[in-house]
């Protein structure tokens, strides 16, 4: 399959690194409005052609798949152009800025029998996959509640970039939302973008709460899933994943066993995280390195995509609901 990429920024490097390792995939071109950004990305990843005009790239290269890794405001038009040029699109999150734009893209994709995939890579990190597997096996029990908390020492305003991640995890474990209540706060009282965000969500199969904080430290991406038989806790920026379970017998004894097992798991995860840094593992982008191979495989085999249009639609709907509370 012949791939191309538009937008040679930070996340593009992860896409290109992943694609380099995929059998049967050739990255044919990189495009960016900055000639130096396009050329350097191509040079670094051994890509033969680079462009500053995506129309020209689509016409000359005729890629099968285009990865769109530009800022969100340009996603819609670029994706539309790629679909109209006959390419599948894999678009960074958030896929579009409005729900209407998303509907248009999905319709165009369906009409042309081309895939429209949003990079909801968090779902493909090891921890959410393992939790989902335990839920599917029945060991976990029905999920009642999900907590997602991101603490990050960053400029205020970054929350909008993380909403799709948070929304996709909520959707994964408790389904489409019914109602949301949000709190957006600027700690210093100024009129700048919010640096604290909270949300309570009522969803089809349970409830969820979201936390985003620029002020709370240390940096972490906590995911906690509450089931009727188990509780799962993960930090998606590390490899830590622990399970607490209901054990038969004396409750206090079971709890102590849980703590011992938890301690052992955390130590193993710490070693794995540290080793990963030295060995050049994808780190926080591990989900992307799982999602892209699955997507390419599904396209090659005409199988169901790992991120479906319905999933994108429902996650986007939740993101828009969270954002609309902000606008009010």
């Amino acid at each position: 399959m012949k791939s191309a990429l538009i937008g040679a920024g930070r996340i593009a490097r992860q896409h290109l690194t992943c694609l380099q390792g995929l059998p049967g995939v050739t990255v044919a071109a990189v495009c960016d409005r900055s000639p130096a950004a396009a050329e350097s990305a191509a040079e670094r990843h051994g890509v033969r052609a680079w462009f500053t005009d995506h129309h020209k790239m689509l016409a000359e290269i005729r890629p099968d798949i285009v990865h769109i890794t530009t800022p969100a405001s340009s996603h819609y038009q670029l994706a539309l152009d790629c679909l109209q040029a006959g390419a599948h699109v894999i678009v960074e999150k958030p896929i579009t800025e409005t729900f209407d734009q998303l509907e248009m893209l999905l319709r165009q994709g369906a009409d042309r029998q081309k895939a429209v995939v949003e990079d909801l890579n968090c779902l493909f990190n090891r921890a959410p996959r393992e939790i989902a597997a335990r839920i599917a096996s029945g060991d976990f029990g029905a999920v009642t509640h999900v907590e997602v908390a991101i603490c990050i020492d960053a400029e205020p305003g970054g929350i909008l970039e993380f909403l799709p991640h948070m929304a996709s995890l909520v959707h994964q474990f408790v389904g489409p939302h019914r109602t949301v209540h949000t709190l957006w706060r600027r700690t210093d009282g100024s009129s700048g973008p919010a640096d604290e965000f909270r949300a309570q969500i009522d969803a089809a199969q349970g409830t969820a709460s979201l936390v985003y904080s620029v002020n709370a430290q240390p940096d972490a991406f906590w995911l906690r899933v509450y089931g009727r038989k188990m509780l799962a806790t993960a930090n998606l920026w590390e490899t830590r994943l622990t399970f607490n379970r209901v054990r038969p017998g004396v409750a206090a004894f079971g709890s102590a066993l849980d703590r011992l097992e938890e301690g052992r798991t955390i130590r193993q995860a710490a070693r794995r995280t540290l080793l990963g840094k030295f060995l050049g593992s994808p780190g926080t982008y591990e989900g992307l390195f799982e999602l892209l191979p699955r997507t390419y495989r599904a396209l090659a085999e005409s199988a169901e995509l790992p991120v479906t249009p319905q999933q994108i639609r429902e996650v986007s709907c939740l993101v828009q609901a969270l954002k609309s509370e902000h606008a009010e």
Partner: protein
């Protein structure tokens, strides 16, 4: 000569502006929109362009300007941030400049662009710069400065501009004395790799003096100059002066360069090729770019321009630490 100075409010920028004004040039300072430019105003600058190089409107910046002194660059942040701020910002500046009558450009490049792994003995302007094959094993600053110079040379050549490239070593001065080559603090001690290696240093006032001199010097046109104050102070010596200057009592633990390099190369050489997250000191080519024992020279600037650093090392210490020499 009316000179547009980008990055005018930075550590080097302020001293360059002062040096330009002292030599009778007029200055237009390009600063970010939110910058507090009171320090430049105190120097007597009244002509400001407030614009972000990456996103702002630069079209009017060149009216009446005879030379551009491009100092703006990111010195911190991740690789992507440094590339965007330094390289994309430069691309936009050059594009705006091509629409103006201004034909003279002085670029502040860096010693980081040299391929330290290939150089033995003395590093001078004839030494090889890092090639595409090894560039991406270096740090974000090196990648950004290499691309900035590459982009600038291309546009200058195709536009027929007079280009002067100055490559300063470590620029130091008051409140900027903790240089990257000075080792790693570890609790109460400072681990000093390659204590006898020399550092390509230039005091900010010496460096600014050369920048101000080349602005209207026709002998500099088309040339590249390294900006160093001399062969370089030894890391051990400078670190001692630095600790004395800031009243630090931290114990220095020396580790020979050769031993460190062999250990790093043996243990991390293969890993470094695929792991972008390794600390710089564990990546052989980055270790070399910090502490490889080389000597440095400003002979070309001396011979071609008659430039000699106005301040001695001792005078620089006095200026930097507010102490008596």
């Amino acid at each position: 000569m009316k000179t547009l100075v980008t990055g005018a409010n930075g550590f080097l920028g302020r001293r360059v502006v002062a040096a330009l004004l002292a030599r009778g040039h007029s200055v237009r300072a390009l600063v970010r929109p939110a910058t507090n430019a009171s320090a430049l105003e105190q120097l007597g600058v009244t002509d400001f362009i407030r614009a972000d190089l990456v996103t702002g409107h630069l079209g009017d910046s060149f009216d009446g300007v005879e030379a551009v002194l491009h100092l703006a660059a990111a010195t911190s942040g991740d690789e992507h941030h440094q590339f965007a701020a330094t390289v994309v910002g430069t691309e936009r500046l050059l594009t705006a400049m091509t629409g103006s009558p201004c034909k003279r450009l002085i670029l502040a490049s860096s010693f980081a662009v040299y391929d330290w792994s290939c150089i033995k003995g003395t590093l001078d302007e004839r030494s090889p710069v890092v090639s595409s094959g090894t560039l991406y094993a270096r740090d974000g600053y090196c990648i950004a400065k290499s691309w900035q110079e590459r982009v600038t040379r291309r546009v200058a050549a195709s536009s027929g501009w007079e280009l002067v490239v100055l490559r300063p070593g470590f620029i130091w001065g008051k409140d900027h004395t903790g240089l990257a080559a000075c080792g790693q603090p570890l609790g109460p001690v400072q681990i000093v790799v390659g204590p006898m290696s020399r550092m390509p240093m230039t005091h900010v006032d010496n460096c600014a003096d050369l920048f101000a001199r080349v602005v209207d010097n026709p002998r500099a046109s088309g040339e590249t100059f390294n900006v160093v104050d001399g062969p370089g102070e030894r890391i051990w010596t400078f670190l001692g002066d630095h600790f004395r200057g800031i009243g630090h009592t931290r114990v220095r633990i020396p580790i020979p360069y050769a031993l460190t390099y062999v250990a790093v190369k043996t243990l991390f050489g293969r890993l470094a090729e695929r792991s972008p997250k390794l600390p710089g000191l564990l990546v052989p080519c980055q270790l070399e770019a910090r502490v490889k024992p080389l000597t440095f020279t400003n002979r070309k600037a001396a011979e071609l321009l008659g430039w000699h650093p106005p301040l001695s090392y001792r005078e620089c210490l006095v200026r930097s630490f507010d102490v008596q020499g």
